[in-house]
Symmetry: C2
Subunit: 144 residues, 2 copies
């Protein structure tokens, strides 16, 4: 399940992918209907994770730390929501066993969920925000 947090994060990153130079958090929030303070926290996490650069003071704001085609949806979601896997025992980046399962290796559920995880990762780790922006661009965002 994608949280609002991750959804907002993706929106913000796509917004930044479509802007040149430094962008104010206030603009991102307004144009995308994101609660300002919530967005602040999200941008902070993305900055700490190295996906954004920030600049304080007048003329400050946020900017992508890397080209938009080198940042994937998968990265953003992992930072904001944690592992992609539907269940922790099926995560490849953050494995954790279930407390209620005897033999992890023999777990049929984990087996299927590994497949699901891989299918999700295949899509999300291949989709850059540049791609997402291009796909969604047919029509412009209108602040309503």
């Amino acid at each position: 399940m994608l949280s609002n947090k991750a959804k907002y994060g993706l929106k913000a990153m796509i917004h930044l992918a479509g802007s040149d130079g430094i962008v104010l958090a206030a603009n991102i929030a307004q144009d995308n209907n994101i609660p300002r303070k919530f967005l602040d926290a999200i941008l902070l996490e993305l900055t700490k994770a190295g996906l954004l650069t920030s600049k304080k003071g007048k003329g400050g704001g946020y900017q992508l730390a890397r080209p938009a085609d080198a940042i994937t949806a998968g990265q953003i979601i992992r930072i904001l929501d944690g592992p992609l896997a539907p269940i922790a025992c099926a995560s490849r980046t953050a494995y954790r066993p279930c407390t209620d399962c005897g033999d992890v290796e023999a777990c049929a559920i984990r087996d299927v969920m590994l497949d699901v995880r891989d299918a999700m990762a295949l899509i999300l780790d291949r989709t850059s925000i540049a791609t997402m922006r291009a796909r969604g661009r047919h029509r412009q965002y209108l602040p309503q």
Copy 2:
């Protein structure tokens, strides 16, 4: 994200797929480390959804309502956790628009999440509990 509820539901259904005749909720709970009352609620939902038949009173218990190869992981998860889609606007069985989005059709996030949903559904709707049971059977569940 797969909740404990859905995980327990899957476990219970796999258990039933491997048993002949009527099975007590108490047995399912014990063998799979599932809190008894939580399991009761889960089995009730699965019964109401038509995946199980139940029988009350002495000699009562639960049984699959259909052959194990005609019940999929996707069905079980939808009943217990709701739509598979990572986000409601990308659900094909239970679509709901985001309140914060202007034009749903032009949403790049929805676009990707539809792909993710389809990839998940492809796996989960094709995997029966008969299959899951067969895969997990190499080693037996040991009540620990």
